[in-house]
């Protein structure tokens, strides 16, 4: 536990975000909807934090703000102590290199017309990172457990699990400090999910990465992370260690999510439904 020396690499402070809604009729005044409401959220080095909530709770918007794709209307996004949206170009560049993302559907997250090697080098080229790219490629492939022969091949030659490893490898290429993973296993087969979850856990430990793990399934998040935030209707309603959340949920939304978890044991004991 490193909770005593909390020094977040990446943090959201008091972020509020609203969207205008489409008019309901020609004469109705335009209305707006608060997607996020005073959100505080952070992640430290070597820490895996989870974000759970039902669809529509605001996970997507929170993610977009966290990785700098969307500017918060109120509140700040802080990276290494600096406000990202008022940072110097050099600081912003550093933010872009240091915060990388893994998306939900591995088959869709790699260009079918691009060789794996090229795809992996894309972040390096785009972010103008100097150094021995080939050496870095081999390093990263080893970290995610893939063979060098993968570099010359195209995405359709791989299975979903392998593609997710490749997507993780791509995110690791710029040597990031924070990895944001949005439902990284929900598109995978059960027997493959565990491979990817274990890989993510190893990476956090070995590379001292900060991991933000976003999912709708509390049990998967709980396995991978040491601190979980529960989001409901645009607010963080509860934060805690997974075990605490499971055993003593306080917020209604958390209780719903805990209640929704089905396990084989509970089923066998006839207590599941």
């Amino acid at each position: 536990m490193t909770l005593s020396t909390r020094d977040p690499i990446l943090a959201m402070q008091g972020v509020t975000q609203s969207y205008g809604l489409q008019r309901t009729s020609l004469f109705a005044p335009p209305s707006s909807f608060k997607v996020l409401d005073s959100i505080d959220f952070d992640v430290c080095a070597g820490e895996a934090v989870g974000l759970v909530g039902e669809s529509g709770a605001g996970k997507t918007t929170l993610t977009r703000i966290l990785i700098g794709m969307e500017r918060p209307q109120q509140g700040r996004l802080i990276f290494e102590g600096n406000d990202v949206w008022s940072a110097t170009p050099a600081e912003r560049e550093r933010f872009r290199r240091s915060v990388q993302m893994v998306l939900q559907n591995p088959r869709s997250s790699l260009d079918p017309r691009m060789r794996i090697g090229t795809a992996l080098l894309e972040p390096m080229r785009s972010l103008r990172i100097e150094g021995d790219h080939i050496k870095r490629l081999h390093e990263v492939l080893e970290q995610v457990g893939l063979d060098k022969s993968a570099l010359e091949r195209f995405p359709h030659e791989f299975s979903g699990g392998q593609l997710q490893r490749i997507a993780i490898a791509r995110a690791l290429m710029p040597n990031p400090r924070v990895l944001v993973a949005d439902e990284p296993v929900s598109a995978l087969d059960v027997s493959i999910q565990a491979q990817v979850l274990n890989l993510l856990r190893d990476l956090v430990r070995d590379l001292n990465l900060g991991l933000v793990f976003i999912a709708h399934d509390l049990s998967v998040v709980a396995y991978t992370t040491s601190r979980v935030s529960v989001i409901a209707a645009g607010r963080i309603v509860e934060v805690g260690q997974p075990v605490e959340l499971f055993t003593r949920p306080t917020a209604a939304a958390t209780r719903n999510l805990v209640d929704a978890v089905l396990t084989v044991e509970a089923g066998l004991e006839g207590k599941a439904l």
Binding site: I67, Q100, L103, S108, S109, S126, S186
Partner: protein
């Protein structure tokens, strides 16, 4: 999981396989033969197709020196057909090519440059789509006069909005893929994403559409030339030959057969080629079958 587990019937079942394979083969053979004849006509013709030889007028097919006979002015039919192939190639491919270029640029822009660009381009395309191609051709003929170039312009004006729509929707579906989000995340600008990610992924669609519009261009050109607002002599078009045949000798003449057959064969061939290529190239279809 859901995306993988859904068992949709394979799309390749759209038609029996033997039919698809035969069709593609036929399409390739016809298209290649058409191109070869069109090119050959630039170097070799049995006779000058525009020089009247009144003594040889209306010879039947198989006459010595005139494989397919002569028309009412004694001009060689085969030579006219060969030049007609060249006209079809130039006008059809020209119209398709111009609309390909404009349509690709417009379609990609509509897909990638935000809602205002999209609305403007898409609605503009909708408006142009409801102007019949023949109307454009008529207006152009009335103002700048008819001819091969006018016809190419009319075809481009007619095809560009359709091309734009097809490219837009193909690009839209590529844009929804996560690899675009990934590219945005590591900071690739929109123009780079368009060139490096979207263009390669819609290239198949572009090739297929080019082939199909090429065929449609030949058909439309023939119609315009038949009406007398398309290609004019000394250029020769199959549509024009049909018009002359009908007006000068009556429709029962075999003169009205050859150009018609030529149009049907070439258009059919190109369409078959386009459909066959679609099965091979269009990722929207092939990916689902995987």
């Amino acid at each position: 999981m859901s995306a993988i587990a859904t068992n949709k019937p394979a799309k390749s079942r759209r038609r029996p396989r033997w039919l698809s394979n035969t069709a593609l083969l036929l399409g390739i053979v016809i298209s290649v033969a058409f191109l070869a004849i069109a090119l050959l006509s630039a170097f070799y013709l049995p006779h000058n197709p525009n020089v009247p030889r009144i003594p040889d007028r209306l010879l039947p097919a198989g006459s010595p020196g005139y494989v397919l006979g002569t028309d009412v002015l004694g001009r060689d039919i085969l030579s006219q057909l060969m030049v007609g192939a060249r006209t079809s190639l130039l006008v059809g491919a020209g119209g398709a090519l111009i609309s390909l270029i404009i349509g690709t640029v417009a379609g990609l822009s509509a897909a990638a440059f935000g809602r205002i660009a999209d609305e403007t381009i898409s609605r503009g395309a909708d408006i142009l789509l409801s102007i019949p191609g023949i109307v454009t051709a008529l207006v152009l003929a009335a103002t700048i006069g008819s001819g091969a170039l006018t016809t190419v312009l009319a075809l481009s004006a007619f095809f560009t909005p359709s091309f734009t729509r097809v490219i837009r929707s193909a690009a839209m579906s590529v844009l929804q893929e996560d690899f675009i989000t990934a590219a945005r995340l590591y900071g690739r600008p929109t123009w780079f994403i368009l060139l490096r990610h979207i263009l390669p992924n819609v290239a198949g669609v572009i090739i297929v559409q080019f082939t199909l519009f090429f065929a449609a261009g030949i058909l439309t050109e023939a119609g315009l030339s038949y009406l007398g607002v398309g290609v004019t002599r000394p250029s020769i078009s199959w549509g024009m030959m049909l018009n002359e045949a009908q007006q000068q000798v009556g429709i029962s003449s075999p003169l009205a057969m050859w150009p018609g057959l030529a149009i049907v064969t070439v258009v059919l061939g190109l369409n078959l080629l386009g459909d066959g290529l679609r099965d091979v190239l269009d990722p929207r279809l092939s990916r689902r079958g995987a």
